[in-house]
């Protein structure tokens, strides 16, 4: 029943559309707004390459730190930006829980399902991994020489007394990637042994930074010598000329970097095209840029990588030692952050003092220490590496719920502040006692 002229007009319009889509691969919106926490070194090449591939679409990159980015997306839900592009999986989880992301299944082929032990994509499809990064140890060569420090190779090396006051890390509560590393360590070694390791390394820490980049920044300046960082921080600093080196420990953890389309994005097609571009061979190759240095998730791209480029799909020691359990991680996510802060970040001085006393006593007494001294030292070590709650308690929904946004009617075991105060006094008491015992061991037989 369509009028002939209307039909003709429609046909003409259709031809026009066909013609123009032949000219451009896809007809996208003229704008794409991306909120990101990535540095300009990473965002600029991608934005430029994308604009080149899709002329007519202007990419507006808004650099914000993760907290400000999440807050911005949350507050602007009536008319949001299009894409959220960041490392921290926790930020994506928060957005997902608040229904601020939309599902999107990429059409790109050849992308791995898992990198290391960690699934590349959100199982529910709200965000996808486009790159991976391994955690490792970065050190300042001038600093190491000046302080005659040996080069650390494994996580366990960082427990050695020689590194006392030379190591820095960012707090898991402030850095989603550090969080994943801590979580992987706990899953790999088990709750109690894992915490013992964290606390012993904690004894050597000189700083628990409030932002991820604070650690490489300090190592670059030579403020301290050794940093526990994500690989590209170390590799790109070296590429920029700083006297630093980076090593992967034998058992490293691999963490993804993600991208997600924001719910009700205004430029839907452009947003989808951007995600596809990140996963395309073209996009993945940009990751190999020495200023970026992230690990592609597309296996074939490694063929184009320079020699010696880390490849988690070939080198099985890269992050595959632990079978990462996402559910366990998710339940205790916030609790773990608060626990680490209470035991280590906020009581670093006391923890340092306890381990300093233990290290000094062990050094002075040597292997020939008396039985009583040995007992006292063992007791001191136990106190300085104890954790106030068990793995079962940490997995308890009611306890973990005390640290989360509570829905109405949800049962929780208490308020966050109550738990934190208990943990804080536990830590203070233990560290003080451990220090006393270690000092007592010196005079014991």
């Amino acid at each position: 029943m369509v009028h002939v002229t209307t039909l003709a007009r429609r046909l003409a319009a259709a031809t026009l559309v066909l013609a123009s889509s032949a000219a451009h691969a896809q007809q996208l919106e003229d704008k794409l707004t991306i909120v990101t926490s990535f540095s300009k070194d990473l965002t600029a090449p991608f934005a430029a390459a994308f604009e080149k591939k899709h002329p007519g679409t202007k990419v507006e990159v808004q650099n914000r730190n993760t907290a400000a980015a999440v807050a911005f997306i949350r507050e602007t839900r009536s008319s949001p930006p299009d894409v959220f592009w960041a490392s921290a999986p926790d930020a994506f989880e928060v957005l997902k829980k608040n229904s601020l992301l939309q599902k999107y299944s990429p059409k790109a082929q050849g992308v791995a399902a898992k990198v290391g032990a960690y699934p590349v994509n959100d199982p529910e499809g709200f965000y996808v991994g486009f790159a991976a990064s391994g955690y490792g140890i970065m050190y300042n060569t001038r600093y190491m020489r000046a302080n005659s420090l040996p080069v650390p190779k494994e996580w366990d090396d960082l427990k050695k007394p020689v590194y006392f006051g030379h190591v820095g890390i960012s707090a898991p509560s402030r850095s989603g990637t550090t969080h994943l590393t801590v979580e992987t360590l706990l899953q790999g070694e088990g709750w109690d042994r894992g915490w013992a390791s964290l606390l012993e390394i904690g004894g050597n820490l000189v700083q628990v930074s409030d932002r991820s980049f604070g650690v490489p920044d300090a190592v670059n300046s030579g403020q301290y010598g050794v940093g526990i960082v994500i690989d590209f921080f170390g590799l790109s600093a070296k590429a920029s000329g700083f006297p630093v080196e980076f090593v992967y420990p034998r058992l490293t953890t691999i963490v993804p970097a993600n991208v997600g389309i924001i719910a009700n994005a205004r430029n839907q097609k452009a947003a989808e095209a951007f995600v596809e571009f990140l996963l395309s061979d073209e996009g993945q190759q940009i990751l190999l840029d020495p200023k970026i240095q992230r690990l592609p998730v597309r296996i074939a791209t490694y063929d184009k990588a320079p020699a010696g480029y880390p490849n988690p799909f070939k080198d099985t020691s890269l992050g595959s030692a632990v079978n990462f359990n996402v559910d366990v991680s998710e339940t205790r996510y916030e609790l773990l952050n608060a626990l680490y802060d209470r035991l280590i970040t906020f009581r670093l001085k006391e923890l340092n003092a306890a381990w300093k006393a233990i290290q000094e006593a062990e050094k002075k007494l040597g292997p020939g220490a008396g039985a009583e001294a040995k007992r006292l030292l063992a007791e001191a070590r136990k106190l300085a590496s104890a954790v106030p709650i068990t793995e079962t308690e940490a997995a308890d929904k009611a306890i973990a719920g005390s640290f989360q946004e509570v829905k109405k009617g949800q049962k929780v075991a208490g308020r966050q502040a109550e738990f934190e105060e208990k943990w804080d006094s536990f830590a203070l008491k233990n560290y003080a006692e451990a220090k006393l015992l270690a000092e007592k061991a010196l005079t014991a037989k």
Binding site: K40, Q62, A67, R142, D210, E421
Partner: protein, 574 residues
């Protein structure tokens, strides 16, 4: 009194309040401004501090604050650091202000300008430079280690925080005290001299007490600012203070703990308490002198030894307080600077990198911060006038609300503005919250306290009889303001403008939330973007240097402007 009653004769109700209808309207406008851009946005964010998960009112979180050992410790640490910083900052600022006000000095304008620079600590760049100069392995310690085999922990623990904060915030005292000293009636000093006072006795018994409003205003600002500052504790990795505790809670992704907002509320209360205490110190004393336009203290020439001593003091002080900025300058020219006294080599490449984008960033910074400074000076002066010269009900409340902004974390205000105004569209459909003017308002609101205290201090030294005399001579209220009050307050207003402008130029926390388009971004945002990667350190520092230069130019102009006003009537004594 005839003039006053004539002015308000038409509104008999206002006679008792000693206010004109225009003043009532002005107070109402300021109150409205604060409600719209401070109270409502803030409440929308921090109300959670008073609610439990079900949304009902509760004070249990404040109980938790008191029950938490870490936070009690943080509270006392913050107080300690605030008080000690005021002491240390006074040691730097008072002699500097005295020398500048008292003696004829070549390059006084330059010294005044340099004295403001420490307020401009570009985000991240300042921290990196500070560590490279004063840190564990900074230039100073590497030199000490080489020469003497010792290392001084300048940047460690609470004492490190005090050291860095004093270097950073002493200009608050310098600016306000200088403005006050410039307004002292030289006749007072001459009388004292005729009665036999001289030297230190003259300064401590006569001059300093007369300049007390400026000193107290500056000292109170230093305390409050230090109490609420989080950049320095974070830089030094000191977390057991209130501001970093609040910040870490509020800005951690996915953490919904209310304690961060509880701490914010407590910080606001403490800051107001400190301001009230400062007002109490000045209460019941009269600082006003009737003779004006004398050009402040008589300036003299220094003897040769005096000149040398003063010059050495000034140069040494400036070298220390400007050390972070010297560090930033070096960093901006450095190829690589790592674990060394000086950079490995120098290059101009970083400036070339930022050249193209620097223009719009500078233009935006000057526009936003200039407007914010103007808003602050106008609102601050009007409010100070109403508070001190009228008895309008509610004027103190408005003043307290305005002052409380000093303790509001930038992120909280930014978030509140975004929440309140994102759904309010502009005529072109863009949201009001991400319009650049909102950034100006955010800057202005948070810095209104600086201009307000500066204006208050200036007005306290101005005797009301001058205004009455003018009114008796037939001048209307407006004419009195324009011809008598404002000109005589110029020094204080300039101090307020400079502090607002300088600190806004490097503000980042609200900026990061509110900037929605790169074209709208100011310098602080540009610095932030660079300072997230190793390769960006040099370009970030170059932008930091540019920010400092912009502020220096603005300060220099403001100083010249006030000096010209003073110079017209200045007398000189020998």
């Amino acid at each position: 009194m005839a003039a006053i009653s004539r002015a308000v004769a038409r509104v008999p109700l206002l006679v008792g309040y000693n206010a004109s209808p225009a003043q009532v309207a002005a107070l109402g406008f300021i109150a409205l401004f604060l409600v719209a851009f401070l109270i409502v946005p803030i409440l929308r964010v921090i109300l959670v501090a008073f609610t439990d998960p079900d949304g009902t009112f509760t004070l249990v979180h404040f109980g938790d604050f008191l029950r938490t050992a870490l936070l009690r410790e943080a509270f006392w640490n913050s107080i300690y650091v605030g008080v000690m910083t005021v002491a240390l900052a006074s040691l730097i600022a008072v002699p500097l202000a005295a020398i500048l006000a008292r003696y004829r000095f070549r390059g006084a304008a330059l010294i005044h300008t340099l004295g403001v620079i420490p307020l401009v600590m570009p985000p991240f760049v300042g921290a990196v430079a500070m560590q490279l100069v004063w840190g564990r392995n900074g230039s100073v310690n590497l030199l000490l280690l080489d020469g003497l085999g010792i290392r001084i922990p300048f940047m460690e623990g609470l004492n490190g925080v005090i050291f860095v904060e004093a270097l950073h915030y002493f200009p608050f005292i310098l600016l306000n005290l200088s403005a006050s000293l410039a307004s002292i009636d030289s006749a007072m000093e001459e009388s004292a001299q005729n009665l036999g006072a001289h030297g230190f006795g003259l300064f401590s018994r006569i001059v300093f007490p007369l300049a007390l409003p400026g000193y107290v205003a500056g000292a109170a600002l230093v305390f409050v600012k230090v109490f609420d500052d989080l950049a320095t504790p974070l830089l030094l990795n000191v977390t057991n203070m209130l501001a970093p505790q609040a910040y870490l809670k509020i800005t951690s992704v996915g953490i919904t703990d209310r304690m961060g907002y509880v701490i914010s509320v407590i910080m606001v209360c403490c800051s107001l308490g400190a301001m009230a205490l400062a007002a109490l110190v000045l209460k019941g004393r009269d600082f006003a002198t009737q003779q004006r336009g004398g050009g402040g203290l008589a300036r003299r020439r220094l003897s040769r030894t005096g000149t040398i001593v003063a010059a050495v003091f000034v140069v040494l002080t400036l070298a220390v307080v400007l050390s972070p900025h010297i560090g930033i300058l070096l960093l901006s020219f450095a190829t690589v600077w790592s674990f060394a006294v000086l950079p490995d080599g120098f290059t101009l490449a970083h400036y070339a990198t930022v050249l193209r984008e620097a223009g719009p960033l500078i233009a935006n910074t000057v526009l936003y911060c200039g407007l914010a400074g103007l808003i602050d000076v106008v609102l601050g002066a009007i409010l100070a006038y109403i508070v001190l010269r009228t008895r309008l009900p509610g004027r103190r409340l408005v003043e307290h609300v305005a002052m409380s902004a000093v303790a509001i974390p930038g992120l909280v205000l930014g978030l509140g503005l975004l929440r309140t105004y994102y759904d309010v569209p502009l005529p072109n459909g863009e949201p009001l919250a991400t319009f650049w003017l909102m950034l100006v308002i955010a800057y202005a609101v948070r810095r209104l306290p600086y201009a307000l205290s500066a204006a208050g201090a200036a007005l306290q030294q101005l005797h009301v009889s001058l205004e009455e005399a003018a009114e008796n001579l037939g001048a209307g209220k407006f004419r009195v303001l324009a011809r008598i009050v404002v000109p005589l307050m110029t020094g204080g207003l300039a101090a307020g403008f400079v502090t607002s402008f300088a600190t806004a130029a490097v503000e980042l926390s609200a900026t990061l939330v509110l900037v929605a388009r790169n074209a709208d971004a100011p310098l602080s945002y540009g610095i932030y973007v660079y300072m997230q990667s190793a390769a960006g350190r040099g370009p970030g520092a170059a932008l930091g240097v540019i920010a400092v230069v912009v502020v220096a130019i603005a300060t220099f102009i403001a100083y010249r402007f006030t000096e010209r006003g003073r110079g017209r009537a200045a007398r000189e004594a020998f």
